[in-house]
Subunit: 153 residues, 2 copies
Amino acid sequence: MGVDTRWLTPEELAAWRSYTTLTELLEVELGRDLGPSGLSYPDYLVLVMLSEAEPHRLRMQELGAALSWSKSRLSHQLRRMEARGLVGREDCPSDARGTYATLTPAGLAAIRAAAPLHVASVRRLVVDVLTGEELATLGALSDKLRDRLDARG
Amino acid sequence: MGVDTRWLTPEELAAWRSYTTLTELLEVELGRDLGPSGLSYPDYLVLVMLSEAEPHRLRMQELGAALSWSKSRLSHQLRRMEARGLVGREDCPSDARGTYATLTPAGLAAIRAAAPLHVASVRRLVVDVLTGEELATLGALSDKLRDRLDARG
DNA sequence: CTCCTTTAGTTGACGTGTCAACCGAAGGTA
DNA sequence: TACCTTCGGTTGACACGTCAACTAAAGGAG
């Protein structure tokens, strides 16, 4: 068994490589565009979540779930960001195990400065390159694949 | 200026987040599925390229171009793989600056063992989840975006 | 109350990837 | 010949992310 692998057809392989190559390039490019702001892409994602919360704080728990990040990834990321003064940590009164991640004034200023840059980057590289219909299709296909990922695991 | 940022519409934002979330999850999942083989995803990509070459070797140059990797990324990756005996390095006779990356017997054995695992993973997570038409659409959209990326820079 | 499992989060070691600085050879041009 | 730029590749410092081990509190079951 295992010997009878169903290899990918040339068409399947081509489509798959197109997709993976794109995502790798895109990630690098988005990160580079964000560079001038002094924020990395992970930094940006964290700050977006915190700035959308009211008040500007979230349990590590919720933050991790919203980003689909592992506990340890989040913990490391916040440690680095805390060292740079972008976020803070507070104990949770109602659950002694819990921790709130909070947005500092410096973090708020940073995300406000970076957001226009990032949006312009996303538009230039993706959103404005596709028609509305194409973008919707891309989103729908992504959702379909994601559902399967979540379902199985 | 810059103040008049064209923010993403809710539809655009939703599609964009679907796409990015998917790719993050997918990357983690593909890496995990490859785990039992002892190879990482980057390892796998390098070995695929070398095993497709005849004889089993490529100039760093070509390898980097084929993978769209930076020189330094490739150099680091090969150093680590060489230490594990998966690849070797040879001087290039015709250009004293050049280096060949070569596939060792251990590297060949590793890729032969890992390939069925990886293909099964790609099928399970992506290829077999979509219809042929959907997959082709995904590939075409990726190509379109990639063209724009290459064109601009 | 005691024990046990689950939940929340942190830490350390390690593989990965970026950037910038560097080195030596190749290939002009004067 | 000498000079100068480009090319091919390596290195070091540092940011990122995974896994596995760990601490400590919460929430049951007996």
